[in-house]
Every structure is written in C-alpha cells, then in structure tokens.
C-alpha cells in the first residue's frame, strides 16, 4: 500500500520536473520572437533589475562590510591583514555575489513575477489571450524570463562592486589596513577566470530563478490560495536550486 503511495509521489515529482523542462523548451522557442518586442522586454528588465537595485546595493554593502570585519579579525591573528583585499574579493566574486544576488532576486523579483502571472491565470487573462490567438507565452512569459536572465548578472556585478567598497570601507578606513596593500594584494590574487566564474554562475542562477518564477506562476492553481502557494514554492525552489547549482558549478570550475 505504502509502496504505491511512494510510487505516486515519486511519479508526481518526475512529472513536475518533466513539465518544467518542456516549459523551458517552449519558453526558449518564444524568446526569439519576444525579442522583436523590445519594449516589453525593457519593461521587464526595469521590473526585475532596476527596481531590485536598492536592496541589492544595500545588501552588498553590508555583506562586504561584514566580510571586511570578519576577515580582518581572522587575518589579524596571523598578522596578515593585508590579505584582506584578496580574501574579500575572492569570496565576493566567486560565491557571495552570485548566490546572495540570486537569493535576493528570488525574494524580490521572483515572487513578483509568480504572483503577477498567477493572478493573470486566476483572473482568466491568460485564457482570454489564447482566445484572441495571442500567445501568452510569447507576450507574458518570455519577456519576463528574458528580463530576469539579463538582470541577474548585472545585479550580481553591482553587488560585487558595492561589496568590495564595503570591505574597503571597514578594512581600510575603519581598521587601518594599508590601502595600497589592500588593492595590490587583491589585484595580485584575482584572475580573470575568477571573475568569469562569478559571471557564469549568476547567468545560470538567472535562468534557474526566472524559469522557476515564470513556471510556477504560469501553472498556478487559479485561486487566491493557489497563487499564494505558487509564490511560496518559487522562493523555496529558487533558493534550494541556487545553492545546489552553486555547488555543482563550483565543482565544475575547479
């Protein structure tokens, strides 16, 4: 008996995975014609990117400052405070920047995407579009997906930059690490492939988080509770998938 239940549960999981994959494929097909409507895409870049700017910069500043403080107290024990620059840069560029940005993006932009599309589903707007022979995938889902994918690497880069500034603020201004040593050690230890790793990570996270947000909204149960549930699932699935992908990508880049 319980075996059958487990089987059904597993099958449901596999079905969801498959439906997301099919959805991604359909979405990618619609992305090219959607690019022919740049106005829609720009509006979504604004929604996902520009409106997340404040929270990203604020979070980046504080993450950088904490990194500066913790790194300084730790490195001070070994008498090598000057390594703070490279420690903060490597930590931010490779891990904290892309991951924190993705988590914040899931909370700030992902939830907005899901509830917006979910409400369109609940109020039958998507069905109305289909009746008018307007493909909602092309005009609703694809621009939002592209907007998220474009916004994420840019947000992560801004996060990194503000984070470095925060680390410099605490390390150099507050704790008195030599400014020249801070930057020269940083430039001495950061390689171009470290920067690239961060950019690739944030691109992958952008695709994953945007896909989850759009998919959950598009397939939400058309009720108030359904939209709420879909929004919750977006945050949970995006966060878990981001951390999982982060490990896989880190292992792949080594």
């Amino acid at each position: 008996m319980s075996n059958g239940k487990h089987g059904a549960f597993l099958l449901e999981g596999v079905r969801k995975f498959g439906s997301s994959a099919i959805f991604l494929f359909q979405l990618l097909l619609q992305c090219i014609p959607a690019l022919g409507r740049p106005r829609l895409v720009v509006a979504q870049i604004y929604n996902a990117g520009a409106r997340s700017l404040i929270i990203i910069m604020l979070a980046g500043l504080f993450v950088g400052m904490v990194l500066g403080l913790q790194g300084f107290t730790l490195l001070q024990r070994f008498g090598s405070e000057e390594a703070l620059g490279s420690a903060a840069a490597i930590g931010l560029l490779k891990e904290l920047g892309p991951v924190m940005t993705a988590l914040l993006f899931a909370g700030r932009a992902g939830t907005a995407l899901t509830s917006e599309i979910g409400l369109m589903r609940a109020t039958d707007q998507l069905v109305a579009m289909e009746i008018m022979a307007v493909d909602p995938l092309r005009y609703v889902a694809a621009p939002r997906f592209i907007g998220g994918v474009v916004a994420m690497p840019l947000l992560a880069a801004i996060f990194n930059l503000v984070g470095l500034f925060g680390a410099q603020l605490v390390g150099v201004q507050l704790m008195g690490v030599d400014k020249g040593a801070f930057w020269s050690q940083m430039q001495g230890s950061v390689e171009l492939h470290d920067v690239n790793e961060g950019i690739v990570k944030s691109l992958v996270f952008g695709v994953a988080c945007s896909l989850i947000a759009v998919n959950e909204g598009y397939h939400a149960a058309p009720t108030a509770a359904g939209v709420g549930l879909a929004t919750t699932r977006t945050v949970v699935a995006s966060s878990v998938l981001t951390l999982l992908l982060d490990y896989v990508l880190t292992a792949a880049f080594l």
Binding site: S80, A181, Q187
Partner: protein, 176 residues
C-alpha cells in the same frame, strides 16, 4: 508617456551601472589587463634588487612602519640582471637621506612584501630621479629552510658516530 520615460531612464541607468560594474570587475581586478589609476603626487626614486620576491606594483613603501609611498613600477634590467623598482614617495616626506637603505620585508607570516627604508646619515636628501644604492633583497623562506636543513644535516653527521653506537645498543636489547 511620462511613465514610459521614467521606465526608460530607470532601465538605462540600471543597465549602464551594471555594465560599468562588469567592466570594472573584468578589467581592473585581475592582475592582467589595463589599469586606470589617477597619477598621484610625489617624487620618484629607483632602487635595484637582486631578488624582489613577490613584491607587486602598489605595494607600500614604509619608513619606521609608516607608509611613505608605494611601488610604482617593477622591471628587469637585462644588463645587470637585477630588478629595477620604481618608487613614488609622498611629497610631504622630503627629507629622506640619499644614502638610505632599502630592504624588502614581509608583512606578517603570510602577508605580502613591502619595502622598508631605513635612514642613512647623509646631509643631502632623495629627490626626483635619485637612485637608492644600498638594498637588501627579499628573504625567500624556502632558501632559509634549506639552509636550516643543511645545518642540521651537518650537525647530525658530526654526531653520527656516537649516535649510531647508542642506536645499535638500543636495537640489540629487545633481542636479548
């Protein structure tokens, strides 16, 4: 129309900022690549070293522990087989004797290298284009350890005769 305008301005601002950040991260941070830095005031002197260790452009130059300037350029002189280090010294430190002694030192155990200046006794001071003659190279930890081990090896070979007798007597004991 007005709403459209703010949207476009916001998006443009965001995208420009994002690409500026990407540009900075890819070109300014890695050790390779073009760098922009504002030319800082001060005067320039140079010094030759046999070995600079991992001294880098931007490393600090200190006197009595206080940063007085930084390393501006590093190049290899193929005539003398030495590293020529260009040093910029802040304009307020004008009275550094021109027979000062420059040595490459390490910040802490794991830290980077820096140049320490110790003052000489001359009445004339370093000025733009001066050359520091007395230098001491970086201490390479590995060569130091090698020397240490060589010392140990010598000592143990001296004592080996008395030591080996003691060893043998110990080895014999369990058999009996």
């Amino acid at each position: 129309m007005q709403a459209n305008r703010t949207l476009e301005i916001g998006t443009g601002f965001f995208v420009l900022l994002g690409f500026a950040a990407l540009f900075f991260l890819t070109t300014q941070l890695p050790s390779s690549g073009l760098k922009f830095s504002a030319a800082k005031a001060g005067y320039h002197v140079s010094a030759d070293f046999d070995n600079i260790g991992d001294l880098k452009v931007g490393s600090p130059v200190t006197m009595a522990g206080v940063t007085v300037g930084d390393v501006e350029s590093i190049r290899f002189d193929s005539q003398s087989y030495k590293a020529v280090v260009g040093i910029r010294i802040d304009p307020q430190y004008k009275q550094i004797p021109d027979d000062s002694f420059a040595s490459i030192q390490t910040q802490g155990l794991l830290g980077g290298k820096y140049i320490g200046l110790s003052p000489g006794g001359s009445d004339t001071f370093l000025k733009n284009g001066s050359h520091i003659d007395q230098t001491q190279s970086a201490i390479v930890l590995e060569s130091l350890i090698n020397k240490l081990f060589a010392n140990f090896a010598n000592k143990s070979s001296d004592q080996s005769q008395s030591g080996s007798q003691a060893d043998e007597s110990k080895k014999e004991e369990p058999k009996k």
